[in-house]
Amino acid sequence: MKIYNGGKILLGLIIFGALFASPFYLNMGKVSAKPELKIDTPEIQKLEDKKCVEPKEFMRAEHMQILNSWRDAVVRNGDREQIIISGHKYEKSLQNGCMKCHSNKKDFCDKCHNYMAVKPYCWDCHIAPKEKKS
């Protein structure tokens, strides 16, 4: 089979292959570790019933929606009513609610966000908690 303009076609095919196969050779020999979250902060250790406001699967998928609706309730509607789940009170707040237990942003929030290259805009306004470098 004779290829006309073989040089140009080969160059095009090399570019095509290099682009589409890039994830394969860029990951060669690299070990990808999945993120491991730490939920052993002192505040959580103190809890008798180690439960978040919603079950784990729900929180994993929908935590941003909860934060968003809390923000709307508190900032826009002035509704700071606490959430009571099985006798335990939770602040409707990122810093005083979520981060009270999950005080380890680096080992909790950032783990998955960095892994997934997600940059939530929480910290555009909120001040990230000070943590010891781990």
């Binding site: 076609i9 292959g17 990808s32 999945k34 699967e57």
Partner: protein
């Protein structure tokens, strides 16, 4: 008929993925084996098609031009629309590939009061351009799932795409544009009679397939959320040749992945090959230099030529006798 056939073909694919994962628990088949086969078919099939085109000779120099060609020195040449050099061809091709220059000339022809009139028809160009660019941006964005440390330019693209900061997870503008333009491209085939007349199942099927992929992706991001960290684990496992099936990824992810696998496998067999084909269009990628460079038809086979010199050698005596002038005595 072709519309319904394509529509139900895509529905059947969705049902197959749903049943395969939800009922038969074939996560490994739909998450690993089929994607690998699809990627191999896509890359090898693509190369095969391009090489096959490359082996077809171009017998004539046939660029279609629309500007003044290189001529006498006082006539101004249109160097891009009628290129005579490689640089001109490259600029012309870039305009074609990146901005769909030739589609921009799309015209609408109508009979009005017995007269044939031409009018502008830019909607197809606009929707086509928006569709292709959105698709490209979405494709590039997905590389965050395939690379351990996402390069900053991908993060930048993602940041710009979600710039409006609507809702959480942030709404991507390209998602909206892609859904809108695919819908437009489909409706156009249905509502313009001439276009409908020449539309085949091969035209509707890719549209429905892309619509299915986009819809499942949008549902997965904004509505029925999946275990996204698991999705990345699966994707990283695929590209590092170390496949894993994490538990608890939603079934909608497998539907999304299966439709993409079908698209990849179908790609080299279909009109979608215009992705490679646009670069191999002789009417676009040739310079209009037929008055400067002789184009040799590669099909030419050796023809026995009887030159005038040989003719004269054969008949010199008889020519002289008849008084016909000869070049050599």
């Amino acid at each position: 008929m072709s519309i319904l056939f394509s529509f139900f073909a895509v529905i059947a694919l969705v049902v197959a993925a749903y049943a395969g994962v939800k009922i038969a628990n074939l996560q490994f088949l739909f998450g690993v084996i089929i994607p690998y086969i699809a990627i191999a078919l896509f890359i090898l099939g693509f190369i095969y098609r391009v090489l096959k085109w490359g082996s077809s000779p171009v017998p004539f120099r046939i660029p279609t031009t629309c500007g003044q060609q290189k001529s006498l020195p006082w006539l101004k040449q249109n160097k891009i629309e009628n290129p005579s050099s490689t640089a001109g061809v490259i600029i012309r091709m870039a305009l074609e590939v990146l901005l769909f220059r030739s589609l921009f000339r799309n015209l609408k022809t109508q009979l009005r009061d017995g007269k044939l009139v031409y009018g502008e028809a830019k909607w197809l160009w606009l929707a086509g351009l928006a569709f292709h660019w959105s698709f490209l941006i979405i494709f590039v964005r997905h590389f965050r799932l395939f690379l351990q440390n996402t390069p900053s330019f991908i993060k930048t693209i993602e940041g710009l795409d979600s710039f409006l900061q609507v809702g959480v997870p942030l709404l991507y503008m390209t998602d909206v544009v892609l859904l809108g333009t695919v819908t437009y491209l489909f409706l156009r085939r249905v509502f313009i009679p001439q276009v409908k007349y020449m539309s085949l199942a091969a035209d509707y099927f890719p549209l429905f397939l892309i619509l299915g992929i986009t819809a499942s992706g949008v549902l997965m991001r904004y509505f029925y959320k999946v275990h996204i960290v698991g999705v990345k684990e699966l994707a990283m496992g695929l590209v590092s040749l170390n496949p894993v099936i994490p538990q608890g990824i939603g079934v909608i992810f497998y539907i999304h992945l299966f439709l993409i696998s079908i698209l990849l496998a179908y790609f080299p067999l279909s009109k979608l090959m215009h992705m490679g084909g646009v670069f191999l269009s002789p009417t676009r990628n040739m310079a209009n230099n037929s008055r400067m460079v002789r184009h040799i038809n590669p099909w030419n086979y050796p023809v026995h030529v009887h030159t005038y010199e040989e003719y004269e050698n054969d008949f010199r005596k008889k020519m002289k006798k008849a008084g016909i002038p000869v070049e050599k005595e």
